[in-house]
Symmetry: C2
Subunit: 185 residues, 2 copies
DNA sequence: CCTCCAAGTAAACATTTGTTTACCTAAATA
DNA sequence: TATTTAGGTAAACAAATGTTTACTTGGAGG
């Protein structure tokens, strides 16, 4: 069962580096196999196991099922080294494909733990509801605020007591469905 | 110049859907071209323009330069519809490849705008410095806190006045180099 | 010790797919 | 109007690559 692990490892590395999957012969070569037959068998089994997707007859038609960065379940202290066990899942940007990011300016949403420089993930098709954090267009200016209703009127509320509520006319451009922050540039 | 846009659009869609690039013939077919020659010429030019990477002689050896989700520079209000102009760049998980994610439990770091449920991006190889937010291992428990030095002694500081500082022995497992938050599941 | 079998070898085979050469055509240009 | 040329057509060509068949082999198990 070790061979399949080596294949998966190779696939991960190769795809990350090249952006496309290796050919069966390249895999065979890496494993020091002299035939492609065994590799194909392993790949078919990996596909059955649900670890990869494989399109028959198509060159380099392999895709990993696990995409993105692994989410670790638990960290345990082995003797000298650490172990990261239990991959709870993988986080991938796939779920945010088709949307776009908007960089946060100012600190009007710190109350919602959104700070300057953060990237807000915007879904412009999602229907905005009361309580959602949204991108609003107010007099040609865009701001990220929380959508609320006061006295039957839609308003944009900052999450910082130093800023005041916006109850002018505005247009909701999209809903903030996520936040990405990157320290150290 | 319209044709190249159509090619790029097709590439984006195809790659997102299948996980690998289309063959030249598939592109030609999509554009309703009867020859592959023109497509290859366009692809070579796109590579020269720096929009794609292309590996000669390799099946489906195309990779988009723009990976991930676009970061919008500005939003302007066109008459009825909106326009998202100026792609400032693209955010990709590539930069975080090789690291892993840890889900935040508790609210001890709200002062740093990290809340429960957030995914902390952990770099276990980065050298921790004073002021960094780190993952610490204290008596077989992992916590995310800010690394600080008090009276010549390393300590872990929460960013929430309701929690108290940890000055027991601990081990730094990694540095938090980013945060990902996803609303709506 | 013999049998069986998973796993690999070897060698073709059949497509898929990138590349190339020669030619065509309509629109821009002189 | 004659010429040029970007961009496409057509048809081969040459690799790259998935697939298949027949054969070998080292070790687990009876």
């Amino acid at each position: 069962m070790k061979t399949k692990d080596r294949i998966m490892e190779f696939l991960r590395g190769f795809i990350e580096e090249n952006g496309f999957a290796p050919s069966i012969r390249e895999i065979a070569c890496h494993l020091r196999f002299r035939s492609t037959k065994a590799v194909k068998a392993h790949l078919d089994e990996l596909a059955d196991m649900g670890l990869i997707e494989k399109r028959g007859g198509i060159a380099r038609g392999i895709r990993l099922k696990e995409r993105g960065v692994p989410i670790i379940g638990r960290i345990v202290a082995g003797q000298p080294t650490l172990q990261f066990e239990g991959v709870e899942g993988h986080f991938s940007l796939d779920r945010w494909k088709g949307n776009f990011l908007l960089r946060i300016k100012g600190d009007s949403m710190v109350g919602a733990n959104i700070e300057e420089g953060d990237l807000a993930v915007i879904d412009k098709d999602r229907e905005p509801r009361k309580g959602d954090i949204v991108v609003g267009l107010v007099e040609d200016e865009t701001t990220v605020k929380r959508l609320d209703k006061e006295k039957g009127r839609w308003v944009l509320k900052p999450e910082n007591p130093n800023y005041s509520l916006i109850d002018k006319d505005f247009q909701v451009i999209g809903v903030v469905i996520g936040v990405i922050r990157s320290y150290y540039k």
